[in-house]
Amino acid sequence: MKTLPRRSVLTGLAAGSALALGGLPRFVQAQSAAPIKLGFQLHRTGIGAAYGRWYERTAQAALALVNAQGGINGRPVEILFEDDGTDPKRGAEVVEKLTTQHGCDLIFGPLFSHVVIGSAPRAGELKVPYLVCSEGYHVASGMLNRWTLQPGITDVRAQVSSMAPWVTQTLGKRVTMVFPDYAFGHDHRDFFTEAVKAQGGEVIAQIAVPPTETSFTRYFPQIPAETEVLYHVMVGPAVLTFVKELGEFYGSGDRPQIFGFIDSLEAVDLAAPGLEFLEGTYFWEAHNRVKQADAPEWEATYRAAVGVDDNGASVSDARDVATYSHMFSVWETLFTIKKGMEAAGYQSPADRQKFVEALEAMTTFDAGLDHVQGAKVFNGKTHQVFGSQFISKVEGGKLMRVHQTSIADGQYPDAVDYTAQSF
């Protein structure tokens, strides 16, 4: 057998590595050129599928931008998506699989509160950072653990308490609430009722609807006649049925003022037949679906990146409406991960604890292309971020912003200090 001369081997090796490095010039300064692996717990199927579709697109868009900017700590980033079926049991399995099997550095992305509550304990046991995009008060309430953080989206408690003054002063003081009968809906029930009371108003009826319900007309007679404001929030594949049947129920007769969470209409086209009655009603939005006249400069870049037009629908299919008031949280969470990993000098899963501590040390996020929804304040003790809320009115079939809360409007006393808990 002919042996290779040592010199040619070395030359080849040098040329090869030069070539490899030349292909990825931006990542050369990293100690390890291996990609940072982020696990994404995705609601690709099940009742959260509409959110999952847009969360995946948003994550891909943010990932492309992060990598174009040089990755994290000079290393390329990749995201592994794993479907949890919007099911708490599978959620915990997905956390396990992403961590132990795929060796992901951290996990982010889940929205539905029952999945988050079902998965977070496993993340805590595996000691893997778990960054949720969920809105639930379960993070700041102290119910979860030190490994679970919510840096990308405000929670229901902050949302509803910051908007209650506007609702009671502008729309009326006698409120009836319709909400899904699980953790997320209970946050609405508890904190909006409390906030309305603080404003001198009263929630006169609370109508809980199972989240798997498919027919809603039967619930509407429970709405008392003296209701001034009907507050609705619904989730799942039947949201369109919910709003349609609400419209049929009131018809052209008298109806109270209607204030809804956009969740009742996320991924639903406002121009769908049967939704005409929504004209003149109000919605909470976290991020205006319709591009407003005073939109910041980065709004156009963000919309182009995630593939959403000025009406809030997919650029390739006008009927494919985005979950615009939620999906920004994925985008912002990924940029927060980048900041956190860079602040912690993150190299490997051994640095997971340092990463959580780096996030806990953060206090404010400036608005910009990395925080597209707006400026935010992060509370390291409660692991929860705070930001502004928007109230929009349906005018001419489009959601137009009529009110914006300040960040301070949504802040409340800490219920937990996660930093005092052990890892």
Binding site: T217, L240, G253, P273
Partner: protein, 291 residues
């Protein structure tokens, strides 16, 4: 809202539910009555009808036309699939009651995941063929929902006519009463079985097409109709079409009225309790023949 209007709304909702339930349950009852096959995949045939209705309505540009096309095409497609499944799967198991239960459980997963893979996980709306809202003094009501009741009644009438007045019905009843004798008289029992299975699945698809303009087509939507259909069929008496219709009316109306006046869970409790009581005191069902 006063008690009168409340009861009126509850009755309307209950009637719509009863109509759709009757269609779905008659299909299940047929395949059990004639074939002695407990079709666990029945709910998935319902789901398939709804999802296909969306696909058909997408392909046809105008809303009323899309709905009519779906109403004609989907039951035929689902029926054809059921025919093939009977010929290719259930016949090979010799329609053995236990084996077919297991087979249809597997089938239900295949159909559900197939719909997920082909049509995606999203809830798909289908436009109603017309928009008519009845404005009563106390509340508004969808005119389309009343159309569903009328349409379901017509289809059920047609099923009744086929079963009692047509040659096909005669052959099916003969097979139901005595398979061996029917075969001895030259009836092609295999074809009767496949036809019955197809008819049952087709009826579930009709129910689904009627319901999609109210609800949305979704790959997980087959579960509830299956459960309620079983409840109705057990109460009515396995294999008895008359019993199935009456039980559908009772369960539908009870669900409509109870869930309007009390928490909806109570309506489910009532339906389940009714099944339990029927099984204890009259195991053959209200109108079923004692085996």
């Amino acid at each position: 809202m006063g008690t009168g209007p409340l009861l009126l709304l509850a009755t309307l909702e209950g009637t719509v539910m009863a109509a759709v339930l009757a269609l779905a349950a008659v299909g299940l009852s047929l395949s059990f009555g004639v074939m002695r096959v407990v079709n666990v995949a029945h709910g998935e045939f319902f789901m398939l009808g709804a999802v296909l209705a969306w696909a058909v309505a997408q392909a046809v540009p105008s809303a009323p036309l899309g709905f009519v096309a779906a109403l004609v095409i989907c039951p035929v497609l689902v029926g054809a699939l059921a025919y093939a499944i009977d010929a290719g799967l259930l016949r090979r198991l010799k329609h053995d009651p236990e084996a077919t239960i297991v087979a249809t459980i597997g089938l239900s997963y295949i159909l559900q995941q197939g719909a997920l893979s082909l049509f995606g996980p999203d809830a798909r709306p289908v436009e109603a063929p017309f928009t008519l809202r009845l404005q009563l003094p106390w509340f508004g009501y969808s005119g389309y929902k009343l159309f569903v009741v009328v349409a379901a009644a017509l289809v059920l009438l047609a099923v009744w006519w086929v079963m009692t007045r047509s040659r096909a019905g005669l052959v099916m009843r003969a097979t139901q009463i005595d398979r061996a004798t029917a075969r001895a008289f030259g009836i092609n029992v295999d074809r009767v079985y496949a036809g019955t299975f197809a008819l049952g699945a087709g009826l579930a698809a009709v129910a689904a097409v009627l319901i999609v303009p109210i609800q949305q087509a979704h790959y997980l939507m087959g579960h509830d109709p299956l459960l309620l259909s079983f409840i109705v069929v057990i109460i009515g008496g396995l294999g008895s079409i008359r019993g199935t219709l009456i039980a559908a009316l009772v369960i539908g109306l009870a669900d409509g009225i109870l869930s309007m006046l009390y928490p909806p869970t109570l309506a489910k409790i009532f339906a389940t309790l009714a099944v339990a009581l029927v099984l204890v005191f009259r195991p053959q069902g209200l109108f079923g023949a004692r085996p």
